[in-house]
Amino acid sequence: MSSQTSLILIILSTALVNNVVLIQFLGICSFLGVSKQMKASLSLGLAVVFVITLSSAVASLLYTYVLLPLELTYLKTIVFILVIAALVQMVEMFIKKKSPAVYNALGIYLPLITTNCAVLGVALTNVQDELNFIQSVTAGFGTAVGFTIAIVLLAGIRSRIDEEAIPKPFRGAPVVLLSAALMSIAFMGFSGIL
């Protein structure tokens, strides 16, 4: 298998087959919290794509060139969470300075991504699966695209749900969870493409 096809396989697998939200249950907080409006969901999705791709690159470099040679791999959880927090801060400052338009579009979602468990989850999974640098970045990008797809789809569904007459106990969280369950069943169908 050439390296290009394997990268395409990584993207398909992370974005659809092992969808980060619907199959692996990472980033559920923001998935349920932000999916009320389509526009907000899209902004959050873009910010997540940006941060996860960048953080998986940095995490991969740090792990290979700092933690492994020093035999400090058991510190990876602490190192990764600090790196992610610092990275998000720097990205925020950089974007604010260089491109206020993008900064306004991403708004508050950028700083809040730090504790989105999908970011740390991707960094840890990449290390666990022993992916190299390019594969890690690809996997990060694919995962984030999967997150964006899921949250935008859910936002679309929720805008319809709000207009329906739902039994009282199911209003609020339960009906959103039910929609997510149906989406999850649909995404299980993708396991056939690999």
Partner: protein, 227 residues
């Protein structure tokens, strides 16, 4: 009621972190494929929560206000690493089963949420009991979801076959969609009870403003503050 008993009642029943506040959803959905996994996850999270509440409360007067969140994250991450290494050494089977969700205890909303909302303002002993109560509430919710999924999905509870061949297990309940389904119905049942008691109180999705420390995006609240 004594203050420490009140803390435990508060954590398990009144502000149950999973079923009432809807925090820490990721592990609730991900590791509840069996009651044993759910119990393991609940207990390890509880251990981290009790310790982190205690430590945060002890150092609450030393840490400057501006850097308190990074400090809390470092405290929690260190404790999680300790728990992770202990589990790898003593319960390798459970460690394998829970996998990546053990290090991810670091970003569990409940832990940072309690550190910020309770432990940073209260004395050590009460914070410890707050951690115990919240931990028990989280564990209880996880075990209920885990047991239901295991019963419906594989026909067992804690590995013991209880269907006696009468019922055919529905495999989807131990797969990903089953987690969403069970949780949806659990919250709906709780909502129904609430409606009987108090007509206006419904469990809303997302953060409900309790996620301030968790950092997961709560656009409504923040945008209102910006205006």
């Amino acid at each position: 009621m004594k203050p420490w008993a009140e803390r435990i009642y508060n954590g398990v029943i009144r502000e149950n972190p999973t079923l009432v506040l809807m925090l820490g959803m990721c592990p609730t959905l991900a590791v509840t494929t069996s009651a044993v996994n759910a119990l393991g996850m609940g207990v390890s999270t509880m251990a981290v929560l009790i310790m982190s509440n205690l430590v945060v409360s002890l150092v609450r007067k030393v840490i400057p206000d501006q850097v308190r969140l990074p400090a809390y994250i470092v405290i929690v991450a260190s404790l999680v690493t300790v728990v992770e290494l202990l589990m790898e050494a003593f319960v390798p089977v459970l460690y394998k089963a829970l996998g990546i969700y053990i290090p991810l205890i670091v970003v569990n909303c409940i832990i940072l949420g309690r550190a910020e909302a309770y432990a940073s303002k209260n004395p050590p002993l009460l914070s410890l009991f707050d951690g115990l109560g919240m931990g028990l509430g989280f564990t209880a919710a996880l075990v209920v979801v885990g047991a239901l999924r295991e019963l419906l999905g594989s026909g067992t509870i804690f590995g013991v076959d209880v269907t006696m061949g009468i019922l055919e297990p529905v495999v989807i309940f131990v797969k990903a969609p089953g987690a969403f389904l069970i949780l949806a119905f659990l919250v709906a049942v709780l909502n129904a009870c609430h409606i009987k008691n108090r007509s206006d109180k419904l469990v809303e999705s997302g953060c409900d403003g309790h996620c301030a420390a968790c950092g997961s995006p709560c656009p409504d609240k923040k945008e209102e503050a910006a205006k």
